[in-house]
Amino acid sequence: MIAGNSTKSGGPAVRLENLDKYYGTFRALRNVNLSVERGEKIVVCGPSGSGKSTMIRCINRLEQHNGGRITVLGAELNDDVGNIDGIRREVGMVFQHFNLFPHMTVLENCMLAPMIVRKQPRAEAEVRARRYLEKVRIPEQAMKFPGQLSGGQQQRVAIARALCMQPQIMLFDEPTSALDPEMISEVLDVMVTLASEGMTMICVTHEMGFARRVADRVVFMDAGEIVEEAPPEEFFSASRNERTQRFLSQVLGH
């Protein structure tokens, strides 16, 4: 309840201060500082192993940070169990490998969490689930099982599932990396729509076109630290950082 109240207060949506994270002796995050305002869209990019996934997984505590502070919607993410539950309710996440529940239908995937976590009545949860499935443009697949859908469709269901919890912040962890090329745009389209409606979004992705169109800021990470943080026009055209330039030339293919 404390978390529920505190999430309503003002301030930035997410604030990371001097964040540190170790895997054994390996330092995955070094001194990361980032502040995300409400309604802001952030694209995080960087070479693989640079700590970008680890960073956003710290935000809803799929990983525990070892040092520094994480404040989400005004509540600090510490060892307080109540805060963790409260924050996870308000933060939706979309994974690289979709992680839909294979033993439930698409509709059940979307209704489950609202019913058991938010305690919504079944009828209300179903109406909302169908609305979000409509929004990601696959209402007709509601009664199918995830295994019967294509990768792109599964990822859109995963987005709908996260939205059904009516989160205030959405995290995307490389949502298009596991998809066949022809399916990437259908997922990105949904994300663009979402962005236009004012959702606070933090996306780890290599889709630079998406970053250019949607992002308010692009964050470039390498070796566990934030190397550069800039609006997209500046990031893509005027970056003077050598590491950024090397990365961009690899991603953009020339």
Binding site: N60, R61, L62, D85, R88, R89, V91, G92, M93, F95, H97, N99, L100, F101, P102, H103, L112, A113, I116, V117, G147, A158, R161, A162, M165, L171
Partner: protein
Amino acid sequence: MEMVVVAPPAPGRLEDLKRRFFATPLQALLSLISLAIMVFVVWKLLNWAVFSAVFTTSGGPEACQAAAGACWSVIAARWRIILFGLYPFEEQWRSALACVVVVVMTVLSCIPAFWTGRRIALVWGAGAALYYVLMKGGVLGLAYVGEEAWGGLALTLFIFVTTCLIGFPLAICLALLRRSELPWISRTTGLVIDGVRSLPLISILFTFAIVLPFALPQWLQGDKLYRVILGSALFFSAYQAEIVRGGMQGVPAGQEEAAMALGMSYWQRIGLIVLPQAMRNALPATINQFVISFKETSLVVIVGFFEILASGNAAYGTGEWRFAYVEVYAFIAFIYFIFVFSLSRYGAFLERRMAVGER
């Protein structure tokens, strides 16, 4: 084209036979040896069990003993004691009905429609309760029959069902505890599981039946039957826990992460996401474990219970049927065989079906 159509079927069959059984000299030899063994065993067995056997009780044990073949009259004379033990004669229909309840329950739980946690628990809970009421009586106008009078197949089935009923939830608990992120909980549980697994079942049954009364306060001791069932359930759960844990390891880590990201609590994640998938992975091994523990139920004979093996020993052990031990053991073996064989065939069928349906 025409050649094929005209080709007479008889030589084709002969060719086929030759190709299948006599392709090389070694193959021919192997076929002949196998055939000889088969003919010999089948003939001997049929001769003993059918052609030269005595089936009626009319001649009494003497005529039966004189026969060259099996003396099935011992079964005709003693089947009640083998199946129902010392259960009161007029009430034995209850014992029979209770056995039917167990069989129906087992068959029901083999149907996929019952494979949700709640339904399977309902079937087994209701089955066990029905069994208990039928056997024990004291209500609904049924005469009271204490546990000490239960015996034979009925007792075997009771021990098996209660072992599973207690052992299965315990196995899930143990598996969850061993999988815990908290190192001391998982380590201690691991120690318990591995400790139980390293001991022979007989020694556990013995400890629970005979040693435990020394180590428990009076009010906790309970009946010897239930102590033994508890021991057998503990043994079952130690093995089943590892099977469940194996099934959980087969569930991708992303599943639990997704559930966490949606804000589900630990019990919601386990009960709704992890366990349903893990149990599906673990199904063939689980059925195998059921088969093994059904066979192992027979070990309670050693701590002095009058289950089917002991009642079989009693059926031929006293008086005039002393010579007819082979027939009695064959009968009991046949009963075990029916249960175990059909269950393990079912398990093999499931395994094949799941292998085909693999995503």
